[in-house]
Symmetry: C2
Subunit: 471 residues, 2 copies
């Protein structure tokens, strides 16, 4: 036993050190075989944070996971399963006896229950009659909200109070209902029609005179979110107002759920990840929870769209070059500067577009700010272009003489300004047409900047070079 | 009065509607002039969420802001000021009478107080003697932690208990200390040496038998963060474990502060923003809180570094082209496909690098996963390259005949694979050398992929075209 305890101590090191899921999985694999090992595991599963247990279990094979499941104490099982990736939850559920699955579903938190239920095979409807009525209705209701809506991430285990209760009675009521509520730190005050009329906190309640009425101490006009609003808008409200939970209401302002801060954090992290994917030129949408779990097929599907589209867009750049073939043949030194000039426009554009995409996503910049942003962008791009024109004019002088240097420097100034403006304006334009600004990806901006860069370069060259040659 | 109330109702619409700071600022400007207006404002400032009031005030000029300040009730003033951007807080502080500033500082939450104090002019040390001893020491202590550390974002207003208290006594104690604590929902159990030995929650305490000892019901080995650890690591722990607050300990495991979930959300959002900036080719670091407030000078400084560096990197691409000048002159049709081929490598690389940078940042993928990621990337890149080679071979056939089509298709396959591998590996490589993986920006990847793409293209062309011509 001391040996097992040592192993466990390593896996359990959840004080300052980050948790090592692979090491913990190794301990589980070893301990599953022996009687004493299993009893040690049982107590670890009981004490460790559910997310750590789930991460360790996720490192196991399906068979190992199935073997470990009975060792997870019933009290913590719903939490642990809820932290597993959805496809592993579904695999587990498929192997469970129906009675065990029903118990699991009944004890999961309501939002995770709805997610798991929706991930079960087609014949899942057969389970419904076996569920208690409250849970059955809850699943049906939560399943009815659109995937990206506030309704899809809310849970129905919130605490409500009525305004005529005293603070003392309210604390009693919260204590009574606490066991199956996600949080009792925020309590929502509703009237007879279940309309949300106020909010109060457990902190206020325990600080208040026990005889004071809830209706007299609550905050009226509480901030809430409509059940059909976007989930990101809901999460942004929680972040803005530093809430522990945000009440969700229907069109009649009746309370239907809460969204908790931890779920809001996940939504915001997922939204940032999706914006990253898009800004790099992949499609957003249904990615697995962890990039690690993305299949070759999925990655192909998410990446091929823009790559192919941009190939065809680049044919225009090629056509631009073909149009100036005589100029190139006459001044083949111009090709030396081609990658440098067109890349610089794309690079400046990538900078501008990522800055704008993120600023629009966080709400730092809004649609109406576009004109102010445009002025600032022009000033910055002019200065950047000037600096870079100076930097390349030396190279131009060395490689091609003063005429080429002039062409290259002028082109640099113009492509940097044009690239920056395209990069800055495209997110606003997409947003204006109700498209996602994050679609203004670096590859898209680069391709557009390249095409315009080629035209600008050769147009300037064909204007300046023959004129100089004629002198 | 009814008119003012109507205006106010619009600005106050903080139920489902997002708050409109500009509209609210307009109301403040109008109302500041009249007696009744000021009284309406006073009550709005008192009732509205502090962050809304701060956002509205931030739309005002310095003079208007200064004029509005006295109307903000003393009770909410520290919160409202804490939500203003730091440079506006400092401006306000500079105009305040010293006594008012001292009162403000004493009542701000400890982390915001330390931030404001550090933003004050050089002579700020003169204020210290006027502050109460506790606040003075607190400012000195918080100022001593490195900017990116957990210590820099923690606050010292946490609730502690001792293990021998009963649940009933503990609730009494929390009620007593609540007024100047950031949260009382988590209570930290410490021993005589102030070492953190456990954690419990208000929820557990009110559910427990009043006579039960805290030491018997607390969670032992609580998850904590060291005061000198990275702030992002601390925020990630809060997100992972769904905490309301995370205890911060010193090297001797003594409790020194807490980090609250709302601050963790801000840290994670800022970290994502910084990764965005870097992935677009700008420098990270000291940006203002809102992109909107970035000056032309700052934007220039953040953007010029990579732009200039990549200009010089692109000179190698130019040299690559110059090396093949004869080949180009002989087959000027090759230039038509140049942008298309080199862009495709860069685009595929941008996709891979952004996916990896984000996955490394969220912890979805870790250093040790690189080999598995490499295998998957190869498979995906091969399929993508093949698809794109097919797509361009038709264009190659039309524009240049079968020989050119073969060169173009082969090049496409190779550049997409090479670009993808560079994009996927560079973030790991940077991470391995303790650099920030996010420095593998789209512009950097594009430039590297362009240079290699040119070499690959002309190398394949010079191998195939003369051979075919010789037949």
């Amino acid at each position: 036993m001391p040996e097992l305890d040592d192993e466990l101590a390593v896996a359990l090191r959840h004080s300052d050190e980050p948790f090592d899921a692979q090491a913990a999985a190794e301990v589980i694999r070893n301990d599953l075989g022996s009687e004493t090992g299993r009893s040690v595991l049982h107590s670890w599963f009981e004490q460790a944070p559910a997310v750590d247990v789930a991460d360790a279990l996720d490192e196991l094979s399906d068979d190992e996971l199935h073997a470990a499941l009975p060792l997870i104490p019933a009290k913590v099982q719903p939490d642990v399963v809820g932290y597993l990736p959805l496809h592993r939850q579904a695999e587990l559920a498929a192997r469970m006896p129906q009675a065990a699955l029903i118990t699991l579903l009944e004890n999961m938190s309501s939002d995770e229950r709805a997610d798991l239920f929706n991930a079960l095979p087609e014949d899942r409807e057969m389970l419904l009659p076996a569920l208690a009525q409250a849970e059955r209705e809850d699943i049906r209701r939560l399943a009815s909200y659109a995937e990206d809506s506030a309704g899809a991430i809310m849970n129905s285990q919130y605490a409500t109070l009525t305004p005529e209760l005293t603070a003392g009675q309210a604390i009693e009521e919260l204590r009574r209902i606490a066991p199956d509520r996600e949080t009792i730190y925020n309590a929502y005050v509703i009237n007879d029609q279940r309309e949300l009329i106020g909010v109060t906190t457990l902190r206020r309640l325990i600080l208040a005179q026990p005889g004071r009425r809830v209706g007299d101490m609550m905050e009226t006009k509480p901030i809430s979110v409509r059940v059909d609003e976007d989930r990101e808008a809901a999460a942004a409200k929680i972040a803005r107002y530093d809430f522990i939970a945000l009440p969700v209401v229907d069109a009649q302002h009746r309370m239907v759920g809460i969204i908790t801060a931890d779920d809001a954090m996940d939504v915001l992290a997922d939204a940032a990840t999706e914006d990253f994917q898009k800004s790099g030129g992949s499609l957003g949408g249904d990615w697995p929870t962890r990039m690690k779990d993305a299949t070759v097929r999925l990655l192909y599907q998410k990446r091929v769209f823009w790559l192919i589209l941009l190939v065809f867009a680049n044919i225009f750049s090629g056509a631009g070059i073909a149009y100036f073939e005589d100029l190139i043949t006459a001044n083949v030194a111009l090709v030396f500067f081609l990658p440098l000039l067109i890349d610089s426009g794309g690079n400046a554009g990538s900078q501008s577009s990522t800055l704008m995409v993120r600023a629009l996503a966080t709400g730092d910049v809004q649609m109406r700010d576009w004109a102010g942003m445009l002025g600032r962008e022009l000033a910055v791009a002019f200065l950047l272009g000037l600096t870079m024109a100076l930097a390349v004019s030396g190279v131009g002088l060395l490689r091609g003489g003063p005429a080429i240097a002039l062409v290259v420097a002028l082109t640099m100034l113009v492509v940097v300004i044009v690239g920056s403006l395209i990069g800055m304006l495209l997110p606003f334009l997409l947003s204006h047409f109700k498209a996602d600004p994050a679609a203004a990806s670096s590859p898209l901006i680069t391709t557009i900047a390249d095409g315009s860069g080629i035209l600008i370069y050769f147009a300037i060259a064909s204007a300046i070079l023959p004129a100089l040659a004629a002198r």
